[in-house]
């Protein structure tokens, strides 16, 4: 039963947490809302950190999720720079490092992800960078001086966005990827090849099937020292070659911040396990955003998604459940990435080896993934917004497509639908 006068405590003031706080007020929650975040900054958007903000074309003000006075006006008690150390489920309180207890009636965990760390010699050298927070991005931006050499470890979306931004700023960029292709876990081979070609054309060097052995530093005399030295000077690969660099970005994925949940024995399985209303196995605790493993009703499975649309969808689900509103309609998962002049938009989830049909015209590219019944399950698009928008609609309606018509890029996607 809804109890819209209780105390809500939200831990994690990122995309998901800040959105949930705002929606609770929109949906009429009258009780107190406390939003605690470990970062010093007010809630902000991360996507520009590897795109426009990194390139210097977006300002700090552009990053903010809400206007500065928003939280006070909405009676949201925003406490930045405050880290929760533990949850006392029996006593219904979050505990800070100094022992302060923040009591709650309802708790929402929105703790996000942290960059995956590689256990390699030299990881702690100055100049070895990662990218999750605005502080990280500030350090990275300082390293992007024209003419400098940047090594990017990991050919995922964040690494490739940074590579695109850096090469356009005039750096010499090398992307080092362990798998045999870019975006191995998150994109089809066809899309990966298309993006690979764009990076190669822009002058990014790409090393595939390359294991990193260590990060090498240079001593004061410039001599290379394995895993030691004053500053990173190269990335040593498994085959012994060294990619010389002035800075290294490690972008090898992210791990869910589920320490609080584990610490109080909530079920976790690569993410805090939640249901369609974002409830954990404690009825007083919900979890939302990058830190959760959630149901994916369209795909009859569960998974952990790292995207802004996922964070906002779960914020809606959680706030609606707390306020006793009907659940929001399920959304088709989607994601976007910008690299060079490529606007990449993906709807649906790449779900393993299914038949794929490529649609390509001058400047536009898309890959349609069909299931055994010719239903569209995923559409990956590059500068093909019509295919993206139509595809997202078609996936949500579970419609079957005519593969022959689909193969003709001149045939609009919506006109490839077969009668129901």
């Amino acid at each position: 039963m809804a109890d819209d006068a209780g105390r809500v405590l939200i831990v994690g003031a990122g995309q998901a947490g800040a959105t949930a706080a705002a929606l609770l007020r929109q949906y009429g929650w009258t009780g107190s809302i406390t939003l605690v975040g470990a970062e010093a900054a007010s809630p902000y958007q991360r996507p520009p950190l590897s795109k426009a903000w990194l390139a210097g074309t977006a300002t700090d003000a552009d990053l903010r999720l809400r206007a500065p006075g928003f939280y006070a006006e909405q009676r949201i008690d925003l406490r930045t720079g405050v880290r929760v150390e533990a949850i006392d489920r029996a006593g219904r309180a979050a505990i800070l490092a100094d022992g302060t207890r923040l009591p709650y009636d309802r708790l929402i965990l929105a703790t996000g992800c942290a960059p995956r760390r590689l256990a390699l010699p030299g990881m702690d050298l100055p100049g070895v960078l990662e990218l999750r927070t605005q502080d990280d991005a500030t350090r990275l931006r300082a390293a992007l001086s024209p003419g400098a050499r940047l090594a990017v470890i990991g050919g995922g979306y964040v690494g490739l966005e940074v590579a695109a931004t850096a090469v356009r700023l005039g750096l010499a960029v090398t992307v080092i990827e362990r798998e045999a292709r870019l975006l191995a876990r998150v994109a089809s081979p066809e899309l990966a090849a298309y993006i690979h070609a764009a990076h190669a054309a822009a002058g990014v060097a790409i090393r595939l099937s390359a294991d990193v052995a260590s990060l090498d530093g240079a001593g004061l005399d410039g001599a290379a020292l394995d895993g030691a030295g004053d500053r990173v000077a190269g990335v040593r690969l498994g085959d012994g070659t060294v990619v010389a660099c002035d800075a290294t970005l490690v972008g090898v994925g992210a791990v869910p911040c589920d320490a609080l949940a584990r610490g109080c024995d909530l079920a976790c399985d690569n993410g805090i396990v939640v249901d369609a209303a974002c409830r954990t196995d404690d009825p007083a605790i919900q979890a939302i955003g990058d830190c959760t493993r959630r149901p994916l009703p369209l795909y009859a499975t569960t998974g952990r998604l790292e995207s802004v649309p996922n964070a906002t969808e779960q914020a809606k689900q959680a706030a609606a459940a707390l306020c006793g509103r009907p659940p929001p309609p399920p959304e088709v998962p989607w994601f976007w990435s910008d690299q060079y002049d490529l606007r990449i938009q993906i709807a649906g989830l790449p779900v393993g080896a299914v038949p794929r049909i490529v649609r390509q015209t001058a400047g536009a590219f898309s890959v349609a993934h069909l299931d055994a019944g010719d239903r569209l399950v995923t559409i990956e698009t590059v500068n093909a917004v019509t295919d993206f928008a139509a595809g997202r609609m078609i996936i949500g309606r579970r419609r079957r497509l005519d593969p022959a018509r689909l193969a003709d890029p001149a045939c609009p996607l919506a006109q490839t639908m077969l009668p129901e």
Binding site: A22, R25, Q26, Q45, P47, P48, L65, R66, A67, F70, E73, Q74, V308, P309, T312, K316, P328, P329, E331, W334, W336, D338, R343, Q345, V385, T386, A389, A390, R392, M393, A414
Partner: protein, 106 residues
């Protein structure tokens, strides 16, 4: 400051001062006006900032870009007077603008 009136699907109006240079989407988000999700933060990538623009104002708005037209083409609730509010930048000339929200952004 120019004013925008946002009207929720159920008819509830919100008259909001929106600074020149910000988008109509920002004006709603910064004031917690219900009915605009703005998942992509104004990148014209999500179509969850969809509004209907009062006829009288439609011609005074900057024209739609190709990206906006395509995104709107498949919004379930699109009408001829649909716009993406992140693509409408506030100017003094838009003082008094009225926009209505669709029943749902998805």
């Amino acid at each position: 400051m120019p004013k925008v009136t946002y009207i929720e699907h159920d008819g509830t109006p919100h008259a909001i001062d929106v600074p020149v240079g910000l988008s109509v989407m920002r004006g709603a988000v910064d004031n917690n006006v219900p009915g605009i999700d703005a998942d992509c933060g104004g990148e014209c990538a999500c179509a969850t900032c969809h509004v209907y623009v009062d006829e009288a104002w439609l011609a005074k708005l900057p024209p739609q870009g190709e990206q906006e037209t395509s995104m709107l083409g498949f919004a379930a609730t699109a009408q001829p007077n649909s716009r993406l509010s992140c693509q409408i930048e506030m100017t003094a000339a838009l003082d008094g603008l009225v926009v209505r929200m669709p029943e749902s952004q998805h």
